[in-house]
């Protein structure tokens, strides 16, 4: 069991991060913290993707002066790169909208800054 646990440590870290992220998203009323929660969730997704591509004893898949020819999988790395940039882009947009909401309502508390109901 313990041995099994160590084999799966990166996956367990992903599960933990997802839990933390959803806790933040559900509990926090502060919009900035909500955005941080989404950022944690994005990190969890990135960690999950990059974990999937690891091959034991592998090195980065670059042939320039490669010491051995066991490479980790390249596709997850490319996917992670894409998803990191997407996470950054959405983070920037969400933060600027939070600033907008704050400018209009004077509050970043999601209950007080809410105008629309029903």
């Amino acid at each position: 069991m313990i041995e099994g646990m160590t084999t799966y440590v990166p996956y367990l870290a992903v599960a933990l991060l997802v839990g933390i992220a959803f806790y933040i998203i559900m509990v926090q009323k502060n919009l900035i913290k909500l955005v941080m929660g989404i950022s944690v969730l994005a990190s969890a997704a990135n960690l999950f993707l990059i974990t999937l591509g690891y091959r034991a004893e592998g090195v980065a898949p670059i042939y320039t002066n490669a010491p051995i020819d066991t490479f980790v999988l390249p596709v997850p790395q490319a996917l992670t790169l894409t998803s990191i940039v997407i996470a950054v882009a959405t983070l920037a947009l969400m933060l600027s909208m939070v600033i907008r909401v704050y400018r209009h309502t004077g509050s970043i508390d999601s209950e007080q800054s809410r105008i629309m109901k029903g």
């Binding site: 980065a60 320039t64 010491p67 940039v85 933060l95 600033i99």
Partner: protein, 153 residues
């Protein structure tokens, strides 16, 4: 920021920018590429903003300049993708030609900068885009959080 920070930033900025450009240019042979190098370069811009303040950076660097740079990077990228349209969109038409067209020996090798076909050019295009994109996000958000109410388009 204090004088120490500004002096160190002045000194470091050249290295950061050079390293960013290096990472962009060598993306097809060593770790890195357009996105990573662009991010390194943009972190240099972040350093400038932290050290000298958003407003003084803004005097030298306007959003519309960055916007033009970003659009041109994006246009260059999509143009390179269109370059192979006689075969298929995104076809790497330069492999085997004399311009970045060398094919490296199979297996581990010392690395040759003239390889990769369209890949190094796309790295440059994406690098331009990322520098301009992250740069303008940093600039706009720091301007706004330091009191400006609006920015130019």
């Amino acid at each position: 920021m204090s004088k120490i920070v500004r002096t160190v930033a002045n000194f470091l900025i050249l290295f950061i920018f050079t390293y960013g450009l290096y990472v962009i240019m060598h993306g097809h042979v060593t770790p890195g590429g357009g996105f990573q190098g662009g991010a390194v370069f943009a972190s240099g811009i972040a350093l400038l903003i932290v050290a000298f303040g958003a407003k003084s950076v803004h005097r030298k660097l306007k959003e519309h300049q960055l916007s033009v740079l970003e659009s041109s990077g994006a246009l260059l990228f999509i143009a390179l993708a269109f370059a192979g349209i006689t075969t298929v969109f995104f076809y790497n038409a330069l492999v085997g030609s004399s311009f970045f067209g060398n094919i490296p020996p199979v297996g581990a090798n010392p690395g040759d900068i003239w390889t990769g076909g369209l890949i190094p050019l796309m790295n440059v295009a994406v690098g331009m885009k990322v520098i301009a994109g992250l740069g303008s996000i940093l600039l706009v958000m720091s301007l706004i959080t330091s009191g400006a109410t609006e920015v130019e388009e």
